[in-house]
Symmetry: C2
Amino acid sequence: MMKKNKSQESGPAEHRVSLRIIRPLVEAYLGFVRESDRHVRSMGLTPGQFDVIATLGDTEGMSCRELSVRTLVTKGTLTGLLDRLLLKGLITEEVSATDRRSRIIRLSEKGDEVFRRTFDTQIAYLDPFFERALTEEEIENLRTLLLKISDEFFKKTPNVRGKV
Amino acid sequence: MMKKNKSQESGPAEHRVSLRIIRPLVEAYLGFVRESDRHVRSMGLTPGQFDVIATLGDTEGMSCRELSVRTLVTKGTLTGLLDRLLLKGLITEEVSATDRRSRIIRLSEKGDEVFRRTFDTQIAYLDPFFERALTEEEIENLRTLLLKISDEFFKKTPNVRGKV
DNA sequence: TATTGTTATACTCTATAACTATA
DNA sequence: TATAGTTATAGAGTATAACAATA
């Protein structure tokens, strides 16, 4: 998959920016995700369910609509997903004071615990990886460069920011 | 979700390496993935199906077992997934010459077209983003840093490398 | 009229385990 | 005995569209 693409390119494959960045980006992401998913599943949650929990974490709650935009889960799917989280007692719901069509979804105490525990576990696991791989200076540098990229994407679709 | 985690941490949240890297990493990745998924779906494929196609792209084909390891799709799921790709005429199968239990899966001509077209489209879309976001020097720098991270993860689970 | 969320449909992915046919 | 792949099962995520209640 790293080879050249003859059809519509304007130069050699190794000059295409996205080819040089995307594969390393995806692999670094997958390295993180594999571990993350393992922790999430060990708590009896699916990735989609934890995605909702992570999005609700450290917020005052939000409507289904906002949750849908931020998690990239369509509203129809979200209804079922929230049903399962309600069953597990990880979230609470309340009819909005200002718009009676809308439910405000929040983490329950139990949900907040799951959120923190999963995060702490992941951090404890991941920190040593990053610290072995990079110097302090490289870490700051990487962070800056990644933010430049997501800022550029953010300009295109501002409403999907802040998912994880 | 960027706030502190009191439980088992050894210092302030902003000193935790993973907290400083992972969110930007995930957001940069999602910026890419959202666009990628859009193209993939517009060709009538699911992300999982394209994952298989991308893994087979530019190879001489491979067994279900290898495909399963590389795509992180379990063998049971893979059988159904390959059925659908066979129906669509995007892959071919052949009994292995050396092990009659095993099927060698390859991209068909049509599958290869889908692979290249999707890639070309994505590159054409993504290159301007990266070029706006980063200088040539920053691109090389970012690539190097990302590779250091995935190399570190790779040490842990060598067999899952080379997925995308 | 437009928007929030629900329901219904049909398909796909998921983990898991029992199964077969080879090795 | 072990491995490659299939089948079966049950649950969960997916897009989509029609729908009710409210704005």
